[in-house]
């Protein structure tokens, strides 16, 4: 019997069902982050992974044209995770999307595992560009978008940035060149969780007014609640006809989102969860899942 593809399943869903599905996938990703945050070797970037859950869920399960059975499909959309320290969240999303079995993530960070702290295109199918050093992903995305345009290719480029890496000059160099070359086939998302390693971004180095800056650099700029699936779907919808600008989505998120004791805390930047912490986190995520189901059951 024909096993239906994800796209076929999606096509049969009502919009409400799709939104609930994407919210549930975000919970799945958070659970993966928590379990691997407990089991991995040496710790991971818990806070900045958890804040990505809805962004990755929406991109991989509703927006990106990718084929997990053929990761090198030439016409696929490209996603560059410029905040490469979000690799655990990315790998969870890729596994859930079918690029490789979820069980392969066991042993995260250990010798011999292809899965570790930062994104690595040589070792993980579906990762388009290695990243980890901040401020590299947007220039790479500019190059990818230029390549797509030279070939008059249909594929788009998506780049997920941390807010902290908007302190890097190279990010703003790429903001200039993307607008200069009118790369309307490029969409960037800033995971605006308002923390970098040392503390709140506005204390470390002020980024605001970020929307004004992005617009001044010539980008079509949208702001959205980065944990609101419906809002993200609308933000990622195609730009109005005739748009010649790259698109910037400032996604307001909560660092450590979904796990109460990690939310909005500098300390959640990096670490390893104790079994007790993981248990508490999974219980909270279980309640979140039940809440989504309860909403679905309501008339």
């Amino acid at each position: 019997m024909h096993k239906r593809t994800y796209e076929e399943v999606l096509a049969d869903m009502s919009q409400d069902e799709q939104v609930r599905q994407l919210r549930n996938i975000a919970v799945d990703i958070r659970e993966d982050i928590v379990r691997l945050g407990r089991d991995c070797a040496g710790g991971v970037h818990l806070g900045g992974c958890l804040s990505l859950a809805e962004i990755l869920s929406v991109l991989y399960f509703a927006i990106l044209r990718v084929d997990p059975r053929n990761p090198g499909w030439p016409e696929r959309d490209r996603l560059v995770l410029s905040k490469g320290h979000g690799n655990l969240a990315l790998c969870a999303a890729l596994a859930r999307r079918g690029f490789f079995p979820l069980e392969e993530l066991r042993g995260f960070n250990t010798l011999g595992s292809p899965y570790s702290m930062h994104a690595d295109m040589h070792r993980v199918p579906g990762v388009e560009a290695s990243a980890g050093s901040l401020g590299h992903g947007l220039p790479i995305s500019v190059g990818l978008a230029l390549a797509s345009r030279i070939n008059a290719a249909p594929w788009r480029v998506y780049c997920i940035l941390s807010d902290g890496e908007m302190m890097e000059g190279s990010s703003w160099e790429a903001m200039m060149s993307a607008a200069h070359y009118g790369l309307h086939n490029l969409t960037a998302v800033i995971d605006r969780n308002r923390f970098s390693l040392d503390g709140p971004t506005e204390q470390i180095m002020s980024l605001e007014p970020l929307r004004t800056k992005s617009r001044a650099f010539g980008w079509r700029t949208l702001e959205v609640d980065g944990h609101d699936v419906q809002g993200l779907l609308e933000a990622f919808a195609p730009a109005p006809e005739g748009n010649r600008c790259p698109t910037m989505i400032i996604a307001h998120t909560v660092k450590g989102s979904g796990v109460s004791f990690l939310e909005g805390r500098t300390e959640s930047h990096f670490g390893q969860l104790t079994p007790q912490q993981a248990e508490q986190a999974l219980a909270e995520l279980g309640r979140a899942r039940a809440h989504i189901a309860g909403e679905g059951a309501a008339p």
Binding site: H136, L138, G143, E173
Partner: protein, 322 residues
């Protein structure tokens, strides 16, 4: 073809690169050229005239350019990145190392105004660490052509590489070493003059001046072998060992700090081969160069033909007394 005099004779390495880039771009539509507001200076202008849709100026923003080159390569293109060597090796070093070299992407970093060739431009524009920096990057091929003919041959050769390459070009016109293009192969040293008393292993502009030094030394009865080590990485170990065994003394000459460049690469080979011969590295002796016209700087740091000949004398005297 092998008999033909190259049309690149008499051109500086950067001029030859610019012309050869048009050839390479004509042969392969994947070739794109990137520059950071130095397109005319690094001679990308001719490519831009032929292929405006494949030329991208990133403005004064080398990091963005290098990262975008990696992105273009990921998108199936063959980027030639151009800027001055000092910026290619320092300002954009991390993008070159992490995006290009770790990515093992077919990006060709073509860097002009290397060494002291910008003369009065001074240490802000001299590039005397670039070979050392690029040599340490895994996957990276490093080529320092001796003249325009070799630069053209190298430009064609790197186009065929599956991984990244650094091509070091000069602002100044090098003295002619080659009239034909058939000699060049990546990773193979080329003996441009035979001799039995000492070997000068040189790269870039120092090859031509080493030949001039060898001619003047010949008048004194000293016969110096000159080896053009255009590929600094991967280095031709066999050529170095043979030169050591045949002549028992090696002088390296490069327009670069003696730390980490050609001289270091040759020393590494000699030491690991257990060849304890007389040896000297000619180059900048762990200092920033001062400002002056190029030829005067070369003379000041002993990198002109007279200085090279003097170093040969010193090394040979050491050989006789030890």
């Amino acid at each position: 073809m092998n008999e033909t005099r190259s049309p690149y004779v008499g051109l500086s390495s950067r001029d030859a690169f610019g012309k050869a880039l048009v050839e390479v771009g004509t042969a392969d539509a994947r070739v794109v050229a990137l520059t950071a507001d130095l397109g005319s200076s690094v001679r990308v202008a001719e490519f831009a005239r032929h292929f405006p849709e494949r030329t991208f100026n990133f403005g004064v923003a080398e990091q963005d350019m290098m990262g975008a080159a990696a992105g273009l390569a990921l998108g199936g293109k063959m980027p030639f990145v151009t800027t001055y060597a000092v910026f290619a090796s320092l300002r954009a070093a991390e993008q070159a190392r992490t995006d290009v070299a770790y990515g093992n992407l077919p990006v060709r970093i073509c860097a002009s105004h290397s060494g002291l060739s910008i003369g009065p431009g001074g240490p802000t524009h001299h590039s005397t660490e670039d070979v050392a920096i690029y040599r340490t990057m895994p996957n990276m091929t490093v080529i320092v052509p001796a003249d325009g003919v070799e630069a053209a041959a190298a430009t064609r050769a790197i186009a065929d590489l599956p991984g990244p390459a650094y091509l070091r070009l000069s602002r100044a016109k090098e003295s002619t070493v080659y009239t034909m293009e058939d000699h060049f192969a990546i990773g193979v040293a080329n003996t441009v003059r035979a001799g039995h008393d000492l070997t000068v292993i040189a790269c870039g502009s120092c090859v031509g001046r080493s030949l001039q030094a060898a001619e003047s030394l010949s008048q004194e009865g000293i016969e110096v072998q000159v080896v053009d080590m255009a590929t600094v990485k991967p280095i031709d170990r066999q050529a170095i060992e043979e030169a050591a065994k045949a002549t028992g003394a090696i002088l390296t000459a490069e327009e670069h700090t003696v730390i980490g460049g050609l001289g270091s690469a040759v020393a590494e080979v000699l030491a690991e081969a257990g060849l304890g011969i007389r040896f000297k590295r000619l180059g900048l002796q762990d200092c920033f160069a001062t400002t002056a016209p190029y030829e005067e700087l070369l003379a000041l740091y002993g990198l002109d033909a007279r200085g090279i000949a003097q170093s040969v004398h010193e090394l040979l005297a050491k050989s006789q007394t030890s």
